[in-house]
Subunit: 340 residues, 2 copies
């Protein structure tokens, strides 16, 4: 791969990203100051190497997945984020009262809006949330709400109907015991310690201890399983991309973007915390016809992922720089708030 060949591939990928139409040799000769025949010769080589493909024998060239991969790893230049894009994102971070996790959500909404791709935010209160306290609020003699709060400020609540033989006071007493024994415990270890340490204690003090125990057990496991929030923005936005221009593909994609399993799969994984990862079509198991660009984040007791779903012909440079920008802003806010 000499320099001209690299430039040619770069030009082909970027032209295709812009136009969504196969790139012919004629269109490129002005840029390379040579005849279309020369371009054709080089294109034939790039095709042999597997970087570009033809739809049919006499069509222009389209980047292959391998071509996109080579592009994002060797050819893509860090695209300067445009002024108007930056302005929109800045406005969000300018509002200091906005919680960071809400700021992220808003950012991804905007990114979906300005790019016509679908975006995802998945946040999960992370393992370094510790139990701060559990409160029991009695609504009546037979109904209580358990409110679980962690030291990072994550709160969940669950309502319970008490069976006739359980007294509200016994539930409250149990909550006090739990508060004394388990404060500071990492939230995902609470269930275990509840079983091994708290249960024996309340067995001695509470009459119907099994039933009461179950209430708290449910409340805590609910906390662990519920305390993730997922936002998908612009599911319909991506349909504006010209590749999804037939009914069958549109329906297929619509179904996929509705499928919570797919969305969760997309937004989970053990990517490096500091790296933006790119998954192009069949390279990953997500979907053959889309590219997914994602980045992990970690703020104030919340682990999360932000991701953008678009066509393989995605504007890689733009998305990467947008995600980087959001990430930077996030870091600077974290420092400013002096947390984390």
């Amino acid at each position: 791969m000499d320099e001209r060949r690299n430039n040619l591939l770069k030009e082909i990928v970027e032209t295709y990203i812009k136009t969504a139409k196969p790139v012919g040799s004629k269109a490129l000769c002005s840029k390379f100051d040579c005849s279309s025949a020369t371009i054709r010769n080089e294109m034939a080589v790039l095709e042999d190497l597997g970087y570009i493909e033809k739809n049919h024998i006499s069509s222009g060239r389209v980047p292959s997945e391998k071509g996109y991969r080579y592009y994002v790893e060797h050819l893509m230049e860090a695209e300067k984020i445009t002024g108007s894009d930056m302005l929109k994102l800045q406005q969000i971070f300018a509002n200091n009262e906005l919680e960071l996790s809400d700021a992220i959500t808003k950012c991804m909404e905007i990114i979906s809006d300005i790019t016509n791709y679908t975006s995802i935010v998945l946040g999960k209160s992370s393992a370094d949330n510790n139990l701060l306290q559990v409160n029991i609020i009695a609504l009546s003699d037979y109904q209580v709400v358990a409110v679980v709060c962690t030291d990072k400020g994550n709160v969940e609540n669950k309502m319970f109907n008490l069976p006739g033989n359980i007294n509200v006071n016994e539930v409250i007493k149990t909550s006090e015991i739990i508060n004394k024994m388990l404060v500071g415990t990492p939230i995902n270890e609470v269930s275990d310690r509840l079983e091994t340490e708290v249960k024996p204690v309340i067995k001695r003090q509470i009459r119907q201890y099994e039933t009461v125990y179950n209430i708290f057990y449910d409340a805590f496991s609910d906390f662990v399983s519920n305390n993730s929030n997922i936002h998908v923005n612009g599911r319909a936005k991506i349909f504006e991309q010209p590749e999804y221009n037939d009914v069958a593909e549109l329906k297929r994609l619509a179904n996929k973007l509705e499928d919570i399993d797919f969305i969760e799969k997309v937004s989970q994984g053990d990517d490096d915390e500091n790296e933006i990862k790119i998954y192009i079509g069949d390279e990953s198991e997500f979907d053959p016809n889309v590219t997914i660009i994602r980045k992990k984040y970690h703020i104030n007791g919340e682990d999360g992922t932000i991701a953008v779903i678009g066509p393989k012909r995605m504007d890689y440079g733009r998305i990467v720089s947008l995600l980087e920008y959001v990430d930077e802003k996030l870091d600077s806010r974290k420092e400013k708030d002096g947390k984390d």
Copy 2:
């Protein structure tokens, strides 16, 4: 409209609902024991009356909106809910531990699943929620969580960063004052009373009362605005309906179903509490190409709406009977739980 004409219209509507293809005269003569010419004569009358339409001069007939309206009001027979449909819904209500609002959500998921229409649940803690208590949980010297709870068990929480000149204890003290003064106040009146009654009191007792006041004001207005949950099921399901079989219409509909304003508009309105309402195409301002069937519900401090969005060629009888069934089950559970 003599009996035969009614039957003919009924047959046309139901055939079209089943097949999604314009109904011709030949297909109907066996059912009416006469020749196709006779049917054609009758059809011409129905067309003059505006109940059916032709796509073009020599096509079969399709019900008009007026025709559907006449059908649902005069011709539709209460369709018996089928055994397997009933079974699926029964399983949900069989689980007594499931909260009623979760049961509704699950039901509408199933209805979307079995019918291939889109379904909506919108729940809102209603005006008859009264303030039970507001708790302040201190995470640190400069961070607190305000937890607002109503007598119906609805809980919301909001985190605040305290400015340097505010002491946590002042916030807690204020919460105690609020609890003393405002317990039992309808939740949507709390903001007003906070302003007129509580503010003067804390003015005398709290140094930076303006800032502290704002925290609670924000928490309560957040409660009122946030405490609604909306679930849209099977946005992509409806695309399986044959009428949405071209790219432009598919995109249009996908955008609409993503649009939160549309969804909220669909699930709000002053329908009679006890009636199932049907909005057919252009009759309403929702969308010219869909029918919306909806029903209000009211359980345990939560007002809500369940709705189904489908093509105008919707299986009216089936949806109505499904919604009626859910409503019945709901009522019987309410009685059993002895609430509301």
